[in-house]
Symmetry: C2
């Protein structure tokens, strides 16, 4: 390059951090540790100019004295020397949402790790960002350190996506892997996850699939060009899984994973959007079966690219900070566009698809009293509900009087399974709540 | 958005295609099939305005009559109505390179799938692109449809990358998977790959690791911020692998994969860059062990994000077109920057690291005459070369007079293995060429 064409060095990108907890602390550490490298890659230095959290005096294990502290988050937005506000507070509403609106409203760039807020208010925020022509980025909100928002928004952008699915919650995957390895019950595995710091004291958000639902709704909007619709996502968690389910799945050549899946019905079926989080049986020749521990993984199936599979750490200070700083670097490079890949007004409004009408094979597990005629009763219920049985296994149960019955159905609608279990709910011989899960089709 | 802020619709991005073979045909099909979707995502239509290949009259199985044909590639560049030239001719030099230089020299955008050309001339082309302030994009050049250039350049941009490695050649992986499943010899599996269209009549580029070396050199430059240096990449292919090697690896709980790996030595060791393609033993708890058939996969290890793993189709018309059109959409969106993430002049010049000094465990397989004293001879050679043996297995060989000896070493430098095999080369009792492979460390 001749000297005359060397562009003037670009001024630093000035960043304010709101929330210095697990993620915020990680971002401070990352920006300090990889400072020079980031400046080279971003084409300009990235500087923290101000920080804020609730309690100024809390020991956060990092030296924050060099940064300007603001007790009032609003001061981060108002400051003349702030280009980007990074929201790492959490919660769909409240302080996080207020800050996000203020930031975009002031025409400043917003980076967030907050899946709950994006799932609930992403459209409004994206519209505000468009009006103000300022970036809104949220790579860290889905699958932590895996750059899956980018991979789908930009890497797979040439494809019509048939479906997107994956392991979106590391806590659940950690629990399931524990159950798999040790034959532990759900309760035991949850306790282990809590002891290891992989699960919160109140694990509801994770184990009931709510966190995964937030992430799924974001992926669906990006993949299908539809308006985010968190209310249309249904979620079943993993609380009802037993050690026996994990064992029986294994005997069938499968592993149990909590899968969030979004799929758009064909036009003939109304073009509705299916968005569901639930435990599934994953066949052992599918890469999701090999995702261990607290990792996340996402699959996107495109009409030209085929199946893409991405795996990595879905949470934690380092991986989440990696995603946040990648967003910051994109902003420093001026490489960004509409938050959901296209203007909000051009996103489709897709009706929710009828989940019960979805066709697939299912796993059904019942615990029944060990007496003559019970099997006939189950078979009759299945027949009457129109469920066709591919295979059935009966094994001794945990106590002498009960047996476990595991059946795999032929392809059929989920509704038929619900109907059959409805019939059996009236039976005196069925013990506890039956479990049923779809078997993931390749 | 208020009506007054609606931006004027952007004009179409006008694309010229050079080379209408496997990949070029795929790009035509993709741009036609997903036309509306691409316009929505790109924010403007993407239009093919001209095409070119060698033989205008060749039947390409697609209707090209609607597109302007140019016999002379140069006319694509010269045309006023062309914004982007897509090079899908192939070859490191010749027509492809001429076209690439003309395109960038004219200040037009270049998209290419040509790993050979990027590996050999990527730096010069990137410099030219910088001078002319025009995009140079090459997502399709590495790992086909997997958006791994983007994932590393942008998704992992906040991280110092410790090493990058993966399965970069689908032909080899197909052959290895065949050997694994059927116990086939290399020659049999190669013939099957040729029959299935996964290998060329002359498979040299693939099976000797040259194609993987091209891709590895590109990944290394991106990950480490170093100047592309294809001459520093060393490659061992898979020709010398036997059915017994695959079987013994399996018995040790491993799978054999052709791995391209790049790693930067620490400053203390001179900061050199190690870039090597070779068959490796991959432990069964590593995701690369589960990559089947012609798929590709790439692992990048970042200092904050940890291990990222990307898998998908590494070749073929559809996946390669997907990557090319993703590049085109980035250009349409004005979301692009320097080809190697930073200006060419700021890339480091890294010396080649001493591959022989690399520490690791190794697999060694020898076929020896079945007679007293041979084992002692081997053990002595290993001892004299400083190789420490972790385990050794002796089995009956393919004929009565020979036995197979498989040993796994403790951690040590590759040089010591070479020295030991050098000593044994002089032995009358060793039959054929011994095989040795590193065992991939997690
Ligand atoms: N942790 C992960 O692995 C992970 C992964 C992906 C995404 N995320 C998302 O990242 C966000 C932050 O998560 P985190 O794990 O870092 O949470 P955290 O450790 O609880 O940290 C939250 C931070 O926000 C501050 N804060 C909370 N409420 C506030 C309020 N009303 N006003 C001002 N500051 C307030 C806290 O201040 P004090 O420290 O002073 O109390 C704390 O610094 C959440 O949206 C989460 O979903 C987290
Ligand atoms: N195939 C894959 O799966 C794949 C995957 C990733 C990357 N790539 C890369 O993509 C590029 C194209 O590969 P391909 O498989 O599509 O090759 P291909 O099927 O052999 O097609 C090559 C095309 O280039 C034209 N061509 C060749 N030499 C030419 C010359 N001297 N002047 C003008 N046109 C010329 C040919 O014209 P005619 O048709 O008239 O002969 C043909 O249309 C290569 O760089 C390859 O490495 C391929």
């Amino acid at each position: 390059m001749s000297a005359s064409t060397v562009p003037a060095p670009r001024p630093p990108l000035r960043v304010a951090l709101a929330g210095i907890g697990v993620v915020g602390g990680g971002v401070v550490r990352l920006l300090e540790a990889n400072r020079d490298l980031i400046a080279r890659r971003a084409g300009r230095p990235v500087e923290i100019v101000a920080i804020s959290a609730r309690d100024r005096h809390r020991d956060r294990g990092i030296d924050l004295a060099r940064y300007r502290w603001e007790d009032d988050m609003g001061a981060l937005v108002a400051a003349d020397d702030v280009d980007v506000v990074v929201e790492m507070i959490g919660g769909a509403d409240g302080a996080a949402l207020t800050l996000a609106r203020q930031t975009l409203g002031a025409g400043k760039a917003l980076v967030t790790a907050n899946k709950a807020m994006i799932a609930h208010h992403g459209l409004d925020l994206a519209r505000l960002a468009e009006e103000k022509d300022t970036p809104l980025k949220y790579e860290a909100a889905v699958a932590g350190g895996i750059p899956v928002i980018k991979a789908i928004r930009e890497g797979a952008s040439a494809n019509e996506i048939a479906r997107v699915y994956g392991i979106l919650n590391g806590t659940c995957n950690y629990i399931l892997t524990q159950m798999e390895r040790n034959g532990a019950s759900f309760a035991e595995a949850l306790a282990a996850a809590q002891a290891e710091g992989y699960a919160e004291a109140d694990p509801t958000f994770d184990v009931d699939g709510i966190d995964a639902a937030h992430k799924l709704s974001i992926l669906a909007a990006l993949c299908f060009g539809t308006k985010l619709d968190i209310d249309a996502v249904t979620a079943d968690g993993i609380r009802n899984l037993t050690a026996a389910d994990i064992r029986e799945a294994e005997a069938l050549g499968h592993r149990v994973r909590l899968i969030g899946m979004a799929e758009r019905d064909s036009g003939e079926n109304g073009g509705g959007l299916y968005q569901h989080v639930q435990p599934c049986l994953v066949p052992s020749d599918h890469p999701l079966a090999y995702v261990p521990g607290a990792l996340n993984a996402v699959v996107a199936e495109g009409n030209f690219v085929g199946r893409l599979f991405f795996e990595g750490a879905g949470a934690g200070a380092g991986p989440t900070a990696s995603a946040i700083v990648a967003d910051i670097i994109d902003i420093a490079r001026d490489e960004y566009g509409p938050a959901f890949a296209m203007p909000v007004d051009s996103l489709d409004q897709a009706p929710a698809a009828d989940a019960g009408a979805r066709i697939g094979k299912h796993y059904v597990r019942l615990i029944v009293e060990d007496r003559i005629g019970v099997l006939a009763e189950i078979a009759a219920a299945m027949r009457d509900a129109g469920v066709s049985i591919e295979s059935l296994i009966q094994r001794g149960g945990d106590d002498e009087d009960s047996v476990i019955i595991v059946l795999v159905t032929h392809e059929g609608p989920a509704n038929a399974i619900h109907a059959a279990l409805g019939i059996l709910a009236a039976s005196d011989h069925v013990v506890g709540t039956p479990m049923h899960m779809p078997i993931l089709a390749l």
